[in-house]
């Protein structure tokens, strides 16, 4: 599974961090950081993160 976040769309709402804390985080400056190739076992929570992104900025490939 590959995760791609469109950082031009991202507005740092952090909803993905709540949904998938193993994959998404906010750094000290409040900007999003994420694991681009998370384990497939995390698919459910990554899909949840993509669903709850207010900007629909998260894409899952594979």
């Amino acid at each position: 599974m590959k995760v791609v976040v469109d950082m031009n769309k991202c507005q740092d709402h952090g909803q993905c961090v709540f949904a998938a804390p193993d994959v998404f985080s906010l750094d000290d400056g409040g900007r999003l950081a994420y694991v681009p190739d998370p384990d497939d076992a995390l698919r459910d929570e990554v899909e949840e993160a993509a669903d709850v992104c207010p900007l629909q900025a998260i894409r899952i490939e594979g």
């Binding site: 507005q11 909803q15 961090v17 709540f18 709850v52 629909q56």
Partner: protein
């Protein structure tokens, strides 16, 4: 597996319902009916980025999950009647669809003002077509806009209009402060000051009596006798549930579709409601059924409702899990954001500043029943991050019911 689940409504709730039916194991047909010509799209940008001309439609459209690729979309048509005992729905093109399971996801329509005066020049913001029409009106040189209603949509539209360079932007509301209904006085005062500092004018404590003009609006006549000149009027005075098509089936449709804790309507295991049209009990709070018009609710209700519906259709036993979503919403206005978790509306009687200062970044807590019921942050990213810390506290509290 044979049979069909019919999803009435092709907005976010309808899309999530279709996807969650597949996730819950339904492999039969899924048909989604929606009156707009578009595939489901994200509505929050309509009053902000779309109005500002910064978001093309492609950036709003949801990308349906691969598992929902075989869903049948019937767009540009809508449900106009239903016979739930016979499991059929009638569409406005005269056709009748039979179903095994029905998902009600028909959402809301903007409430309109019933005042004397012309209709031309009056706008609402619910659909993409609405937002495009309003943008065209607001970008004509020299227009004066009056926004009726100082709620979330009204405040967002006013802020976007100022950002577009609109010459005069005035917000009218019978209440004394913007957003005082959902957020209370403390944040209402802070919001009033921030909007005024950025060029929005307010006419508060008075309603609209009439619209001036012959063929099109030239002004707004207030209940206190003042007249505000206006070339464009935006009506943002709440919304009404799209439930008329369900009448005659014995459902409680007095404010949306009343459901049980599994989102089932009228005790029927084959009919569920999702999104802001559903009036459901939330076990996290007092169990009183309410509609919730927050962005997080379509996905939450769709997941829960799809599980219940598919379990019934497949004859499966189901672990009855209480439905207890944590509502969340945000609102971007000018250069600041409101970020909310929980149910501030239930804690308006005891509002306290938790962090910061209403003049800068602030996190406000809403209390009741000896507990924190909701938090709202106002300001920049630091405020939103502050609210997120209290989100964990809200989630950890035991439910008030169950």
């Amino acid at each position: 597996m044979t049979g069909r689940v019919l999803v009435a409504g092709a907005s976010m709730g309808g899309l999530r319902a279709a996807e969650q039916l597949r996730a819950a194991g339904w492999t039969g047909a899924v048909t989604v009916v929606g009156d707009e010509p578009h595939m489901p799209y994200n509505r929050p940008p309509l009053s902000k980025e779309v109005l500002a001309g910064k978001a093309p439609f492609e950036s709003l459209a949801f990308t349906p999950k691969a598992a929902a690729a075989d869903v049948e979309w019937r767009l540009g048509t809508k449900a106009v009647g239903a016979r739930l005992d016979e499991r059929t729905v009638t569409l406005d093109d005269g056709s009748t669809l039979a179903y095994d399971g029905l998902v009600v996801a028909t959402g809301m329509s903007p409430r309109r003002l019933r005042c004397p005066g012309p209709l031309t020049g009056r706008h609402t913001v619910r659909t993409l077509a609405d937002a495009r029409g309003l943008r065209e009106a607001l970008t004509r040189p020299g227009v004066r806009v009056v926004v009726v209603g100082a709620g979330f949509i009204g405040c967002e539209v006013a802020a976007t209009a100022v950002g577009l360079g609109v010459r005069e932007v005035t917000v009218v509301d019978p209440l004394p402060l913007p957003l005082v209904g959902p957020l209370g006085e403390l944040l209402g005062r802070a919001l009033l000051r921030r909007h005024e500092e950025r060029g929005v004018r307010f006419a508060l404590g008075t309603g609209v009596a009439a619209f001036a003009g012959e063929d099109r609006v030239t002004g707004v006549v207030l209940a206190d006798g003042r007249v505000l000149a206006a070339d464009v009027v935006v009506e943002s005075v709440g919304s009404v549930a799209n439930v008329a098509w369900l009448e005659g089936n014995g459902l409680d449709l007095s404010d949306g579709v009343l459901t049980d804790e599994s989102l089932r309507a009228g005790g029927r295991p084959d009919v569920v409601a999702v999104g802001d049209v559903a009036r459901f009990p939330n076990a996290r709070y007092d169990g009183v059924p309410r509609r919730v018009e927050h962005w997080s609710i379509p996905a939450d209700t769709a997941r829960h409702a799809a599980k219940a519906l598919v379990a019934h259709l497949l004859g499966r036993d189901r672990e009855p899990a209480p439905f207890a979503p944590l509502p969340t919403f945000w609102s971007d206005q000018h250069d600041f954001r409101l970020q909310s978790f929980g149910a501030p509306l239930l804690g308006l009687g005891d509002i306290r500043v938790l962090d910061g200062d209403p003049d800068g970044d602030v996190v406000v807590g809403y209390h009741g029943a000896d507990r924190l019921l909701g938090v709202v942050a106002l300001g920049g990213p630091a405020a939103a991050a502050g609210a997120a810390r209290y989100r964990a506290q809200l989630l950890q509290q035991p439910a008030l019911t169950v």
